[in-house]
């Protein structure tokens, strides 16, 4: 979607500390040039294909369709990207831009760690230094991702200020960029931040919707009637929606995280029910969850990737102009939808994506069998094993962890023992 000087209606813009002005301008011009450079676009498609496995399939879910008894259900399989989520599309694109700008280092924020991992993967492949900021609470909740980022050579910095989650990680990434802009690029993971990031991330993610256009014509001879996507920052939703914006007959539904209740701090609903208000923070104007003094508030979702206090200015604008209908699903509905997909189709969805599933499943039942819906399965669910096991109240999981931990430490002792033995021998 084209902005007007970085604005989408009243949202967007570039509200960053003055020190970042030149870098922001550099990204603006580099992105404009790159988009119009056939060799850049060719390289982008090559990397998408060879490194991430694109195009991803559009999967017809016959069992689910029959079970729901309404519209034909299709899943856009972004879970099959390298790294297991749509995040890769954007990181590959921005990685190529970093090379084009001649920068040597990337900085990124991450919530659950999906964007952090994708960034660390690409940085390793491109030979870039990589620093990932992650809220200290998220580090504790998502340690396996931290482990892999570090193995990939990234420096992971736990952010201990404020709510110690994604929003603080984003603040800290901006602070790093303020002193490192000469050789570093801030590789933001969603369609937020100062211009041109919302437009640029949307551009790189739009490959999702472009493929869906072709695939739906090939597989069912028409465009989908409805599209569904979860909305954290907004990048997977905009990736799916943007190529269809001019197709007025295609309805679009964005799904936010209703968490565990409607009180402030229990959900991440920014756009429905006026729970969020217009504001300017973290480099852009959009809708944020905030109090009457303009202080940003805490959020919750069972899906770490949807637990964000703001939202893309493009989504805020599309919701305000009613081009996108906003809906939400709570933690419980999300787990039920996740479970249904596991049982009916043999696909393990990310909890983020399960938000889109929850609302789509509910609505599909009221549609006709000659109608088609496409749900963006933005990521795979392997990463959620700890949360899901706990939520499904799996009886074996905790004993498994305890046993594992015991063995883990015993192995340590064995190793310590052998080390001390070998030292004794040397002595």
């Amino acid at each position: 979607m084209k902005s007007e000087n970085g604005f989408y209606g009243q949202y967007g813009g570039s509200y960053i500390p003055e020190i970042l002005y030149s870098s922001q301008q550099q990204i603006l011009t580099t992105f404009e040039e790159a988009k119009n450079d056939p060799s850049f676009v060719a390289e982008l498609h090559k990397q998408w294909q060879q490194y991430s496995g694109r195009p991803t399939p559009l999967t017809h879910c016959e069992n689910l369709t029959q079970h729901l008894g309404g519209a034909q259900v299709y899943l856009k399989r972004e879970d099959l990207n390298h790294s297991g989520a749509h995040k890769m599309n954007n990181v590959i694109g921005q990685g190529l831009l970093v090379k084009r700008m001649g920068k040597k280092r990337v900085i990124a924020e991450t919530g659950a760690g999906q964007h952090g991992i994708a960034t660390a993967l690409v940085a390793s492949r491109l030979g870039l230094e990589c620093t990932i900021y992650m809220g200290a609470k998220d580090v504790a909740r998502q340690y396996p991702n931290v482990f892999w980022m570090r193995q990939l050579g990234a420096t992971v910095v736990p952010v201990k200020t404020g709510s110690q989650t994604l929003r603080d990680a984003l603040d800290e990434a901006l602070r790093d960029w303020s002193s490192s802009y000469e050789d570093s690029h801030y590789l933001i993971g969603t369609a937020c931040g100062c211009a041109p990031f919302p437009e640029m991330v949307t551009y790189f993610q739009s490959v999702i919707g472009q493929e869906v256009q072709r695939q739906s014509l090939a597989q069912f001879d028409q465009l989908p009637d409805r599209l569904y996507a979860c909305v954290g920052g907004g990048s997977n939703a905009l990736g799916l929606f943007t190529p269809f914006l001019e197709d007025k007959e295609v309805e679009m539904v964005g799904v936010e995280a209703a968490g565990r209740g409607m009180d402030m701090g229990d959900h991440s609903i920014r756009l429905s029910h006026n729970l969020g208000q217009a504001g300017i923070a973290q480099g852009f104007a959009s809708v944020f969850l905030q109090d009457d003094q303009g202080q940003l508030q805490e959020t919750h979702s069972i899906a770490a990737g949807l637990d964000y206090v703001g939202v893309s200015p493009i989504v805020a604008h599309l919701a305000e102009t009613q081009r996108v209908r906003m809906s939400y699903a709570n933690d419980e509905e999300v787990l039920a939808a996740c479970s249904l997909l596991l049982q009916k189709e043999g696909i393990i969805p990310a909890l983020e994506s399960s938000h889109a599933l929850a609302v789509a499943f509910k609505e599909a039942a009221d549609m006709r069998p000659d109608q088609h819906i496409v749900i963006n399965l933005s990521g795979r669910g392997d990463k959620d094993i700890f949360n899901v096991a706990k939520a499904f109240d799996d009886k074996e999981f905790a004993p498994f962890l305890e046993e594992y931990l015991k063995n883990y430490h015993e192995q340590d002792t064995v190793q310590d023992l052998s080390e001390s033995l070998s030292q004794e021998t040397h002595a």
Binding site: E18, T161, R167, R175, Q293
Partner: protein, 263 residues
Amino acid sequence: MSQLANFINAKQPLTSQPLAMTHVIYGYPSIEASLEWMQALLEMGVETLEVQFPFSDPVADGPSIVQACHKALESEPKIQQCLTDLGRLGRDYPNSKILLMSYLNPVYRFGITKLVKEAAEQGLTGLILPDLPIEHAAEYQDACVEHNLDAIWLITPNMPTERIKQIATQATGMLYCVSRSGVTGQKSSLQTEFDLAAYLAEIRQHTDVPLAVGFGIRSPQQVAELTGLADIAIVGSALLDAHNQGGIATGKAMVANLFPQLA
């Protein structure tokens, strides 16, 4: 002519050491305590007092100020009350000028024009909004002109000449000249990183408003080095660190040490 610029020019023959701009955070460690601290500084005669209204996400600030802002938010400060409190202090100490600094969102919630109007009514002389770029500032600038309050802009190192010109020619009151990259509170020696004199000279070519230099000032030498180059030295994180360490007494000692005219 700007009240603030007149005030600074009257106090500051460029040959003497720079005037003081001391930075404090409203509500840190509590609203009462922060007002006492401001009063102590005004009592010492600091020429300008920069008061930061806390925000949850202060992206241009380093660890000391970030932490203090989060602590300050625990007492749920209100911008309306802040204006009232600063107005009272300003009336008690008419020989100093008080400036309000805030990130955009609290100001935006309050209403930007309303803030300018009420700040002016309370006798504040300037506003600093570090995340408002000049190209998005028309409404704010109009309100400032209408209410005779100075919108204080930042100039940063490595800023393209064109942009220095664009900002400097719209400057009122003073320009806040950042002396290095990064956020507040990082250590820096003013002269080694780049040619500060050349930087300030370039800014001077485009404006005759007073120049204030800040970011990383911690030592009397750094302040002294600004003599003849700048009108004001801004001390923020270092003062906060001193205040954290030993309260008002230690904070005052630091100000006296940095600014001989206040000792």
